[in-house]
Amino acid sequence: MLWYTLRRVVYVLPILFGVSIICFSFVHLAPGDPMSAVMPEFASPELIAQIKRAYGFDQPLPIQYFRWLGAVLSGDLGVSIISARPVWGELLPAILNTAQLAIAAVGLSLLSGTGLGVLAAYTRRLATDRAITTAAILGVSVPHYWVAMVLVAIFAVTLGLLPAMGMAPPDNRGFGLDDVRFMILPALALSMIPTAIIARSVRATVMDVRKQEFVQTLYANGLRRRRIFLHVIKNAAPPVLAIMGLQVAQLLGGSILVETVFAWPGTGYLLSNAIATRDLPLLQGTILVLAFFFVMMNFLVDLAQPLLDPRIKRQ
């Protein structure tokens, strides 16, 4: 296990290095320098040079990169151009808000995705299977920002049941019913695609496992159906887990658009504001942190897999 873990770590480090290069390049991709978009038109060349020096944009790119990397590694993501506050200070509350939403959406999609997938696999060729498979096809190709708008149109505008946007106002009673009411629609919209993909892969994997010979043997041995079901689930878990990990991480990316629709003050909302104001350091910091989460998520899934299926370790 230790050897396996070390191998995964060795694999992850160069990827993180590559991620940092891509994120660094975000600030330098646009033509001109990162300040030109926000500088007033009448700024004198001296002032421009002064500000460029202050941000370190006058140095050669490799030096800028290693300076930036050193700062990032010590926990400094730079300063937002628009608000002049540290990027980390803007990011932290946003990350917590996104995490709240993501946990709700992940829970929802894992539960309903697995449930629907298993149900479809066990009712093969019946109406339930057809319905679930069709819903999964729709769910995979549906734009989730549009689902978000449809949910608002139905539940907030037409029925007036749930709030259309924002978060519950902060109070000192902790996490209460009000917080849940604000969270239902965004979490539903966000969980749509992962649910569909998880349901589809659970269905396929469970059907595959059920066809294997050991299941026949278990039936022949006269094992109870419930016990056989447990065996099937246990064998279907590892491949499904890999897909789930990927989906959970994709969900973080998807939250950009959904949060924008619901004005949910998370990382996605922050990112779309950073784009609108061309606040490149903020954009860079947000994407770096989200990509880091994504890599870590996949790393943890890789580590968890041999715990479920010891065969993977030996490959």
């Binding site: 975000f26 190709s141 994504f294």
Partner: protein, 301 residues
């Protein structure tokens, strides 16, 4: 008697008329299988309609998509003169949806075309050369997989700045790595086969092996995979214009229409979600058509 003897001495030529079995070429049989798949045919029909309507928009659209009217804003579906109602500036929704297909479909298909060309050539070369070159190229590709696709697209487009060209570049960049990976793994499998070895033994040059043996064998796999990405690209590119990163108003685009109509969702919820229906229909059709193509081409993923 004599005559019959003469007859029997002559060999009787018997013509057996068997029903002629035409040997179908690969593509002919693919086309035949695809034609017999009702779901694929319906999807293809819908897509042809939408694409044709977008191309011939000036002749198909019932009204001018840019003509605003302050008096007739956000009219509901079925208003006389406006079959699908009007938008927040009083422009005819149906006409704008028809015109919107031009940008939206192009932004879905063009990035995939570019990504397929770039990704498959890089992947085939990497897979064919193998060794260190392969490793370096594929490790670079791995880095792009460290980003969720939406995040990478939004990040790139956001950093490059709004505009259809930047949108196109970032989408092509997002979809190149997965296609490269598919092309590389397919090529690696092919290059170790006996017939490639035989071609090499007869003295065939690397380019002629790639064109004659590798490409012919991996192209169907890459093609079906790329066709499946079109539906993702349409949703993603509309998402970028939804964030205001795509084409600038007043040009009609489904994602941008969703964005501008979002403010009117409390007044006219049905109008506001209408452009998304178009995105959904095209995306589902491309998805199902690609599934049908995969079955018809008998590609194992």
């Amino acid at each position: 008697m004599n005559g019959s003897a003469a007859n029997s001495s002559q060999p009787q030529i018997e013509i057996i008329r068997r029903p002629v079995r035409i040997q179908l070429t690969y593509w002919q049989s693919v086309r035949r299988r695809l034609r017999r798949d009702p779901i694929s045919m319906v999807c293809a029909g819908i897509l042809v309609l939408i694409i044709a309507a977008a191309i011939f928009a000036p002749w198909v659209a019932p009204a001018d998509p840019y003509k605003t009217s302050m008096l007739r804003r956000l009219q509901p579906i079925g208003t006389s003169g406006h079959l699908l109602g009007t938008d927040e500036l009083g422009r005819d929704m149906l006409s704008r949806l028809i015109y919107g297909g031009r940008v939206s479909l192009l932004m879905g298909i063009l990035p995939i075309t570019i990504a397929t060309l770039v990704g498959s050539s890089v992947g085939i070369v990497a897979g064919f050369l193998g060794g260190k070159t392969n490793m370096v190229i594929m490790r670079i590709i791995d880095v792009f997989f460290a980003f969720p696709s939406v995040l990478l697209a939004v990040g790139l487009a956001g950093a490059l700045g709004a505009g259809p060209v930047n949108c196109l570049i970032s989408l092509a960049l997002v979809f190149t790595p997965p296609i490269t990976r598919v092309a590389e793994s397919a090529t690696t499998q092919i290059r170790n086969q006996d017939f490639v070895e035989a071609a090499r033994a007869t003295g065939a040059s690397a380019p002629s092996i790639i064109i004659g043996h590798v490409m012919t064998n991996v192209s169907s796999l890459i093609l079906t995979y790329a066709s499946g990405l079109i539906s993702v690209a349409i949703v993603l590119s509309s998402g970028l214009s939804f964030l205001g990163l795509g084409i600038a108003p007043p040009t009609a685009d489904w994602g941008l229409m969703l964005n501008t109509l979002r403010q009117s969702i409390f007044i006219a919820p049905v109008n506001a979600v209408l452009p998304g229906v178009m995105i959904l229909i095209t995306s589902v059709c491309f998805n199902l058509l690609s599934d049908g193509l995969r079955t018809a081409m008998d590609v194992k993923p």
